[in-house]
Amino acid sequence: MVNPMNKVTIENLSLEYSDGAESLRGINLNIPANAISVLFGPAGGGKSSLLRILNRLNDLADVKTVRGKVLIDGQNILEPGVDVIALRRKVGMVFARPVPLPLSMRANLTYGLELAGEHRAAVLAEAVERSLTQAALWDEVKDRLDEPAAALSGGQQQRLCLARVLALQPEIIMLDEPTSGLDPISTSKVEASLQKLKTQYTIILVPHSVQQAARTADYAGFFLQGELVEWAPGRAIFSTPRDKRTEDYVVGRFG
C-alpha cells in the first residue's frame, strides 16, 4: 500500500554508470509531501544521481544499469512508457550553479510554460509575478523583466532559477546545492523561500553543508558512497544519530 503522505517512494533502487563512477546501492526511501527532505553526505555519495533519476535527467548519461522502483504518486517513473516531458514539468529542478538561459528574465520564466503550449499573455504574466514573488525576487526585478537574465547578480540568478521552476507549478521541487555559490544573505533568502514553499510543494534539498542540512531539514537522509546510511524525521539525525558513520560525519570527523 502506498501511504498517501508519501509523495515519492523509492524501492530497492540501484544505479551503475558505465565508467564505474558514483553509483547507488539498494536505496529504500519514502519522501513525504509538504516537507523539506534533505539528502546530505560527502561528495560522490549518490545524492545528485538520485535527483537526476527522479526527473529522468539521467536518461542522457552513460548509465549501465538501473534497478528497482521509483514511485511518484504510486506510478513507477522508471517504466519505459512514462512521458518524460510531463514528468519533468511535475518534478522541477534547481542546479548548483545558477543557469539563466541566454534569454531575458521574462523569457526565462515563461520558457517552460510556452513549451507546454501556454501562450495566453495574461496567464504568462500572472505566472511571472506569482513565481517571482514566491522566490522573493519580484520587488528587485519587476521594472526590468526584459533585460537579459545574465545581468542579475549570482544570488538573484539562483532565485530566478527557482522562480522558473515555480512558474510551471510543479509538485516536487528538487534543489542540488542551490546555495553553494551564494553569499550568506542570498542563502538565507533562498532558505526562507523554501520554508514558505513547503506548505504547497514537496521539496527535496541537497544542501551544501551539514549546517544548512540541520537548519532546513524536516526529514534527512545521510548518503555515503552510494548507500543510504540513515533516514530520520526531524532534526534527530543531527543531535542523536543512530549510526556511527552518520555521527562521525555530522560532528566533522570526516567529510
Partner: protein
C-alpha cells in the same frame, strides 16, 4: 652587469613583438595602395565609361564589370544557400545528436575535408557533377552557376561545420540540463537554448565559410563555364571576378588598359572582403559588448 643585459633582452623581445604586430597592418595597407596604384592612375575618362558597360570582352575593349560582379555574387550566394543550412545541420548533428563514437569519427573527417585542395573538387565537378546537371536539367552545358554554387558550398562546408561545432560544444552542459529539466525536448533545447547561446561563434563560422567561398578561384574557373555575361538564372554559365583575374593576368600586356582593369577587379575584391569582415566583426563586437555588460 647582468641586470642590464636582462633589461636589454626585455626591450628587444618587446620590440620584436611590436614589429611583427605592426607589420601585418603595414602589409595590408601596402597591398591596398599597390592595387590602387596599378589600377586607377592608368585610367582615362573613357575607361570609366567602359567599366559601366554590361559586356566583358577585353579584346574589343569592352570592360563592363557588371557580369563579373553578378557572377561572383550569384555563385557566392548560391554557395551560402547550400553551405549554411547543411553546415549548421551537420554541426548540430555532430555536437548535439550523434552518439560519442559517431562523433569521434565525423569530427576529424570533416577537418580533413577542410584541407582538401579545391582543385580536386573541381575535377569531381567536371567529371561527374556537370554531366549530371546537364542531363537532369536538360541544359546545353552543365558548367553553370548552379554547379559552381554546389561545389563552392562543399568547399566552405568543412570550415562552417568545424567552427560552428566548436562553438556549440563550448556551451556549458548545464544550459542543456536546465532546459531539459523544464520540460523541453532535445530539439527544443538545441534551437531555443544551445544555438542562441553559441550564436557569435556560429556567426563567425558562417562568415569564415563565406569568406572562403568569395576568394575561391581555381575551382569556380573549372566548373562555372567562364562565360562573362550577366546570368539570367542559376543554370546559365557565369564567370567570377577571381576567375577572370586568374585566366587573363598571364596574357595581358603590362601597362595596358586591360591590365589596369584587372587590377581594379582585384581592388574591388579587396574592398568586398574588407566590408564583409568589417560587418562581421562589428556584429561580433556588438554582441561581445552586450555579453560583457551582461556578465559583469
Amino acid at each position: 652587469m647582468p641586470q642590464q643585459t636582462e633589461q636589454w633582452r626585455e626591450m628587444l623581445i618587446n620590440w620584436l613583438i611590436k614589429i611583427s604586430g605592426y607589420s601585418a597592418i603595414v602589409f595590408v595597407t601596402l597591398i591596398f595602395f599597390f592595387l590602387i596604384r596599378e589600377s586607377l592612375p592608368g585610367f582615362s575618362p573613357e575607361t570609366f565609361s567602359r567599366l559601366a558597360g554590361s559586356r566583358w570582352y577585353p579584346i574589343e575593349q569592352y570592360y563592363g564589370l557588371a557580369p563579373l560582379i553578378a557572377g561572383s555574387i550569384m555563385v557566392t550566394l548560391g554557395a551560402a544557400l547550400v553551405a549554411i543550412p547543411l553546415g549548421l545541420g551537420t554541426a548540430i548533428f555532430i555536437a548535439e545528436i550523434a552518439p560519442r563514437w559517431v562523433r569521434e569519427i565525423l569530427k576529424p573527417l570533416v577537418e580533413i575535408l577542410a584541407g582538401l585542395p579545391s582543385v580536386v573538387l573541381g575535377f569531381l565537378g567536371i567529371l561527374s557533377l556537370s554531366p549530371w546537371v546537364r542531363e537532369t536539367m536538360n541544359l546545353p552545358t552543365g558548367l553553370t552557376a548552379f554547379s559552381g554554387s554546389l561545389l563552392l558550398g562543399m568547399t566552405s562546408l568543412p570550415t562552417i561545420v568545424s567552427v560552428a561545432e566548436d562553438a556549440l560544444d563550448a556551451v556549458p552542459r548545464s544550459y542543456r540540463d536546465a532546459s531539459l529539466a523544464l520540460g523541453a525536448t532535445e530539439l527544443q533545447t538545441i534551437f531555443l537554448v544551445t544555438l542562441p547561446a553559441a550564436r557569435s561563434g556560429v556567426f563567425t563560422a558562417v562568415m569564415l565559410g563565406l569568406g572562403r567561398a568569395i576568394g575561391e578561384t581555381i575551382m569556380v574557373m573549372m566548373v562555372t563555364g567562364n562565360a562573362a555575361m550577366i546570368p539570367n538564372s542559376l543554370f546559365s554559365p557565369v564567370r567570377t571576378m577571381t576567375a577572370t583575374i586568374a585566366a587573363e593576368m598571364g596574357e595581358v600586356a603590362k601597362g595596358s588598359e586591360h591590365y589596369h582593369v584587372l587590377f581594379l577587379i582585384g581592388l574591388t575584391l579587396f574592398v568586398i572582403s574588407l566590408l564583409v569582415n568589417l560587418t562581421a566583426s562589428s556584429v561580433i563586437m556588438r554582441q561581445q559588448k552586450r555579453a560583457e555588460r551582461v556578465l559583469s
